[in-house]
């Protein structure tokens, strides 16, 4: 039997203004969107050590009742166990497709974001290092960000992305957006009338890419090429986020490192 969703459910992520990075922000937004779509209220709490509090080392994680669950996949399972699901109405083939597209987003978009943040030297120097270590004093800030960079670069090497140039990575992002755009077509959501976790995930990543200011605009330009994707992001933002004016969860209230979605 499912317990009711508690009032004080909380989502933890890193500090929004100074610390959080592109990829973590995307993941966090995806989870927030998913919970909004399920109509489950959640507070967003920003902590500098969110990554270390998380059971899997990845943000975001939610604290519901006395359970802590991190990352979108396990959170979807957890919410389903509580009796809420967005993908129950899909048939088997559609569920297979949904899972495949979610893997595509994780495989290409998330990896590209990680690459850009940690393997592109200019971005690393100017944005990532200052942001990642910002809550900590010197030299801890440099040590932590170098450690993380080394870890991410090892992973990139293991999956074969270390040899890619930035242009190739942007090509891959373009290919991924092209596929998503084709799949979305003119429908309001990926599986027509109802949003699913795939919509939440895609929204999280695309919206973050569109609204984050990086060294160059190349990444967001790739997404802007596809008008149905930008319309999709705007639609979800309006439907699920604009009604909530709480300071910690509004999207419109971002400062210096963000530019608003036009």
């Amino acid at each position: 039997a499912a317990e009711p969703w508690p009032e004080n459910a909380a989502l933890y992520q890193q500090l929004k203004e100074e610390q959080i990075l592109l990829s973590d922000n995307a993941s966090s937004l995806a989870v927030q969107a998913f919970l909004q779509m399920c109509n489950l209220p959640i507070r967003v709490i920003c902590r500098a050590n969110a990554e270390y509090m998380s059971p899997s080392g990845k943000v975001p994680f939610i604290h519901v009742g006395n359970q802590v669950v991190s990352e979108l996949g396990p959170i979807v399972q957890f919410v389903k166990a509580k009796g809420h699901s967005l993908s129950d109405g899909l048939d088997e083939v559609q569920k297979a497709e949904m899972k495949a597209y979610m893997e595509l987003v994780n495989n290409m978009l998330l990896t590209a974001e990680l690459y850009l943040q940690w393997c592109d030297d200019v971005t690393v120097e100017e944005i990532t290092h200052p942001r990642y270590g910002s809550p900590y004093p010197w030299p801890l800030n440099r040590i932590l960000s170098y450690q993380k960079q080394w870890e991410v670069r090892r992973k990139m090497k293991a999956i074969g992305w270390a040899g890619k140039t930035l242009e190739q990575v942007l090509e891959d992002v373009d290919q991924c957006c092209h596929a998503l755009s084709q799949r979305l077509g003119t429908q309001p959501y990926f599986f027509n009338k109802q949003p699913t976790e795939l919509d939440a995930l895609v929204f999280g990543h695309l919206f973050t890419i569109l609204t984050t200011q990086l060294i160059t605009d190349e990444l967001s330009e790739k997404v802007k090429n596809y008008s149905n994707l930008t319309a999709f992001c705007r639609r979800i933002e309006q439907q699920y986020f604009e009604g909530h004016e709480k300071d910690s969860s509004t999207i419109a209230g971002r400062s210096s490192k963000r530019s608003l979605l036009r």
Binding site: G57, A96, E97, E103, L104, R154, A158, C176, Q182
Partner: protein
Amino acid sequence: MAAPMELSCWGGDWGLPSLHPESLTVMAYAKFSGAPLRVNTINNSWRTPKANLPVLVSEDIVISQPAKILNFLRRQKYNADYDLSAKQGADTLAYVALLEEKLLPALLHTFWIEAENYCSVTKPWYASRIAFPLSLYLPGKMSREALNRILLTKGGPPLYSLTEVEAQIYRDAKECLNLLSKRLGTSQFFFGYTPTTLDAFVFGFLAPIYKVCFPRVQLQEHLKQLPNLCRFCDDILTCYFKLTVSGHSPAGQDTADANLQKLTQLVNKESNLIEKMDDSLRKSPQHPPRKLTTLKLAAGGEESSPMSRLSP
């Protein structure tokens, strides 16, 4: 036409043209799109110091990863996806990502990390096809790379030990196989009646799991419970690879052994088919289906002449 393109890749066994998933994907795609590829299976030569196979060489261009090779073939007008709609093209990308994320770790584990499998099958097989002394070093290196990849992508907390990671990746792989089976349903290929890029990738990943005889075979047993996927692999093998699986016998001292091995495999396959077609075989000894005549005439491993009679 330009000079023929040469593909260097790992060879095959157990009825497969290649044991290596990526090599198999490229070979399958070439067959589906009709690209004229000359396939060089690596056997005891020094040509693979880095073992980054498969490698396509066309005039002076050298291309090494399956996705890039497929792109190159498409640019040369060998396009197996010609009839696909844009949405189906997008689905292809998504399913390939699913295969790489969910199925590949378990595949790598079965081949390279599971101790019994690695020591009794994979290592000797690869070592026999690499020149000494590289054969002492390369298989170990490939195994370490596979372990590295699995641990870095799947091995973070809360999974702290290799056994927990293994349990997770096999669960994911079985789920992936189930999803593929549901997506394939009863159709012959994933997008209708002609095979496409997605079929090449799925075949490349599934066929080694399906055919290679390992001591520890949990993934193979799971796959055998999904008859449509087994039928999919068998169909591609018989329709697209049957005619050349014996045409590239490895040069060198063990030609006879290799041919005998292939003959044994063919005999086993034929005997399975014969059990199914029992009645009609008894009634018509001169039955036109190619499998039976192959069995009768193939004596010393030279199967090219009966095979050429049987091309559709």
